[in-house]
Symmetry: C2
Subunit: 243 residues, 2 copies
């Protein structure tokens, strides 16, 4: 892990960009901490530059609660080499959504399964490196991003103690089986009128998750309309489970 | 309104029992307040004596946030004269649930519509009396209890500024129409494995409510398994809307 930049945000948060085997990432740490900070891995749909304002806002919110936050670019996204098969599948998905057609399982599998297979080992490697840094301690939470990546990570990575999932419906059927293996406390956010996700499939995913403590927060509105108070709820959820 | 008893709970909360035209009720107020306290009407399924421990716990939680809380007995419940038709319908409902049969609309209508018709004017009369007391000020929230009573109250009582509803499914079809008239901010609590409520009908009710701000909190577990942290979430919900 090689740091490439460092800046302060509002004096309260230190933001450092890094490269981990050529994968770009960002680490945010509260400027003033005594004990090692719990770490929240911030998921996103791919494209760190585009997502930066929203990620930085979430990281600031984490830091206000005393949490460090970190993210890495997804395979095939942002400045990383494209993955032709994923681009084809994404174009097929967009065509289906624009035509108002149901999204068939084949498109979802072609789009999401290779991404999950490639991304999850990278996030775990990032976790190895991040947890070796001074000032960062376990336990670890994972929040948001591609739903299927969050499910696989929560299922296979024992260092993750709590997870917040966005209730996406673009989840391969095979991942529903993996969802049953998830046992950590979960908070799932669902946008009731999400134009890009099927509500019933999202509810089916919530139902499938194996955790004994799981909570769904559904709010009226479209994909990007998550109310601001859910950020506070997320902090309290992680505070309950990471402290 | 005639007060019949007064006691302190933990020095922090004053609990007063009252009679309002022979309807028993309880008022809890924070012992130390300067400004008039917003009031939360605490709903329940009927039977103040049986429900007292849970109601007092919720009232203490309200008082910790600076809210007054009050409740009145439902028609035909507790020490109030029975209503034969409602008792018959309740017995029919119990038989259907025990036999694992679907609860037909006729039973729900016979059980719930007369209760809603009788209870809502009483709660509004209680509100008239409570808001005349020193130390109690608007705005008013309504929390829990019989779902259909909460829906009707939120739809017709303009002094209610925010409502927390339990996601019951024993709601007459006619109330789904009234639900569309509700415009105040809502928090609905749904128990994912509620043995006495149909999940899909509860989700349909959430969908039908007309409010522009509505949030569903669904938690794993049965009817009485609402997690303790939902009490804090409820206080924050009311603090957002009643202050």
């Amino acid at each position: 892990m090689r740091f490439t930049s460092e800046q302060h945000l509002d004096h309260d948060v230190v933001e450092r960009e890094f490269l981990l085997d050529e994968i770009p990432g960002i680490l945010w740490t509260p400027a003033a901490v005594s004990a090692p900070a719990p770490l929240i891995l911030l998921g996103h749909p791919g494209g760190l530059r585009t997502m930066y304002p929203r990620l930085a806002a979430r990281a600031r919110h984490c830091a206000a609660e005393g949490f460090a936050a970190a993210t890495v670019e997804l395979p095939g996204c942002g400045d990383r080499p494209r993955i032709a098969a994923a681009d084809h599948a994404r174009a097929d998905l967009r065509r289906a959504l624009e035509a108002g057609e149901p999204v068939d399982d084949d498109i979802v599998d072609r789009l999401v399964l290779p991404l999950v297979d490639a991304a999850v080992p990278e996030w775990r490697a990032a976790l190895d490196a991040l947890l070796r840094l001074p000032g960062i301690g376990g336990p670890v939470g994972h929040a948001g991003g591609v739903t299927a990546v969050g499910v696989r990570l929560a299922a296979v990575e024992p260092r993750i103690s709590a997870a917040l999932l966005y209730a996406g419906s673009v989840v391969p059927r095979a991942l529903l089986e993996e969802a049953r293996q998830v046992t950590v406390p979960l908070l799932m956010l669902l946008q009731w009128d999400d134009e890009g996700n099927d509500r019933q499939r999202a509810l089916d995913l919530f139902d499938a998750l194996g955790s004994a403590e799981k909570t769904l927060h559904a709010n009226l509105g479209g994909h990007t309309g998550v109310p601001q108070f859910e950020g506070d709820d997320a902090n309290r959820f992680f505070a309950r489970h990471l402290r």
